[in-house]
């Protein structure tokens, strides 16, 4: 448990300044409180985390909820993107005017297929990873409190 040791070090070396080497005949060294078990540390392994690890009913239910939340987000993003992309071929087929129109001298299909999908994909990815990370944060908060 590395972080426990780290927490000791400032107390051992004295507040701030560099350690002074002990010379014989000096005052006895300052007393240091040695703590073998940090009670705050013990709190850091919450009940829920043990439940997760030991695969209890509650733990399993928690994971199921997380998985479902993540899956809902993924499916939502994938479906939206696919619906937008898959509409284009239909539009071009059934609305001929649409395929022949042009904007700023560029044909609409080229504009739609050449410029729209890429920002759409980047945006969808960004939105998704923010959502996914939020689900994970929520899960951690729930587990650690």
């Amino acid at each position: 448990m590395n972080d426990h040791l780290d927490r000791f070090s400032p107390e051992l070396t004295g507040a701030g300044g560099p350690p002074v080497p002990a010379r014989p005949g000096d005052r006895p060294p300052r007393r240091v409180k040695v703590v073998l078990a940090d009670r705050r540390g013990a709190k850091r392994v919450p009940r829920t985390l043990i439940e997760l690890e030991e695969q209890t009913k509650i733990g399993e239910e928690l994971v199921k909820n997380l998985v479902n939340a993540q899956l809902r987000t993924s499916v939502l993003v994938a479906a939206t993107t696919l619906v937008v992309l898959c509409t284009f071929p239909m539009l071009f087929r059934y609305v001929p005017n649409f395929a022949d129109a042009s904007l700023f001298g560029i044909r609409l299909p080229w504009l739609l297929l050449g410029a729209v999908p890429f920002p759409l994909l980047i945006g969808a990815g960004k939105w998704y990873s923010r959502r996914a990370e939020r689900h994970e944060r929520d899960f951690i908060n729930m587990v650690e409190n």
Binding site: L49, M90, Y128, F139
Partner: protein, 597 residues
Amino acid sequence: MQHEVWALTGIGAVALLSFLLGFQGARSARTTSDFLVARRAVKAQRNAAAISGEYLSAASFLGVAGLILKDGANALWFPIGFTAGYLALMLFVAAPLRRSGAYTLPDFAEARLGSSNLRQLSTVFVLVIGWLYLVPQLQGAGLTLATVTKLPYWVGATLVTALVMINVLSGGMRVVTLVQAVQYWVKLFAISLPAFVLFLVFLSDHSEHRASLSQPMPPTFVETTVVKVETDVTLQVGNPVRVVAKGIVDNDRPVDGVLIWNVGTHKVKAGTQLTFPAGASVPVASGQPLFNSTWLRPQSDSWSSLFQTYSVIFATFLGTMGLPHVLVRFYTNPDGRSARRTTQFVLLMLSVFYVFPIIFGLLARLYVPQLLITGNTDAAVLLLPNAMLDNWVGIALGSITAAGAFAAFVSTSSGLVVSVAGVLSTDVLKGKVRDFRTATLISGLVPLAVVFAVHSSDLSRAVTMAFSLAASTFCPMLVLGIWWRRLTAVGAAAGLVVGGGLCLLATVYTLATGGHDGWLSQILAQPSAITVPLAFLTMWGVSRATARRVPLDVSRTMLRMHAPDRLGFIRDRDVTDGVTTGADDDGRMRSGRHRRG
């Protein structure tokens, strides 16, 4: 002659750069885990550059522009799909797969479903997909060297194979990561700079030629053009053309002199030489849009072409997640969250890249339309600079694109060889460094042999075969395996066999018959819109029927894949040399409960 020297210099520079980087990195590669996973310490941006560099293959660098020159608006779906695949990968696979600790697809199959038979089946498909993807890369290399230097076709393919082997053998993945990241920037530079310059040239070109892209007429020759036909071809002629022919034309008639071709189709035998005057209409190989106005519109006049469009979307969107060389790369991320971040960067990098092949494709229709006769449209990117600029700038730009194309083959082939060899050495041979070397040799030489045996056109379409196979096999296995508890090994195996089997049959049929215009052939040429749903259904159905065989440790696996990284359930693969710690085989968490920071 000068042109060839410069192009060769560019290619040589790229080869030297990859070799030097490889050599530099080789000194620090020592253990098996160095070779395979770059010590899992590669940063997100560099990893994204490496993924993009590895992914942007001959199909992207040459093939996209070629297809746009040939098929017009419909071909835009290829770059869209090649990019969108990474969105699907991020949504369904990236983070959980990284946390599962699976390094290859067979690893995942075994870790999730606990069946060594399924592992072997997956190994077979990894090898097939990897080789299907390698063949067009080597063909592209042959094409590039043949186009810029007139060297025989096989020289380029052999040269790239050799270079890749040296690279991979000298340092494995760690080296390849560095090489790949550099190669993304090499490729972006090599396609963006010429595209900018050529686009400026196009804007300053005020001839009436410029406006012809939207006219209801075939493309026209800019200058007197000599075309040598290398395979038998049927040409459609839209406007009567005066042509000087030498060879065998129209019903096996030997000709040597002037011909007037009327509107209609004309057959030309291999070895014939055709000379067209400037301003003449370009005959176009049959099966492709002849008039610029039809080329400019998305063609969805028939159900089968609509089906093909959707199939391409399906295959590329869902196939990327099943490509072995892409997945291996994700394992070099330290945790699930950074796997997502990496994918985010990849989406950005690919989107920037694909602007330029599209510009090349458009300009090629105006300035190198003779490629439509031979059908050798993949060479458009290589020939366009010289066709548009008849001076030293054109030569310089031409050698830059040639070097970039070469970078594309080297990087994609390296990645594929590493991942195929990884699977071969861990699953078929025993996982020691020495076997990794044997495996590398095998995984490079097999596709090279195929290149000598089979000739095919259209790099982008050939690559799409690998995508559809991946989409019909590994995509359902990954998605269901990660998100659905009740998947069983039997179900997964059935799905792999049905999806992969049908897809392979369709591919073999298409290769054997060469593809026709009938609706059946069109469906079989792009089968994924049928085979992917079938594979999903089979996996679902068979898993429900064998519900008692759901693995016992499914809850633990799900926890490991989906629990946030900070909780420390992530698992790293125990690499055989015993240097890595933790990750006991019984699946307990490594290094205690807390992995903070």
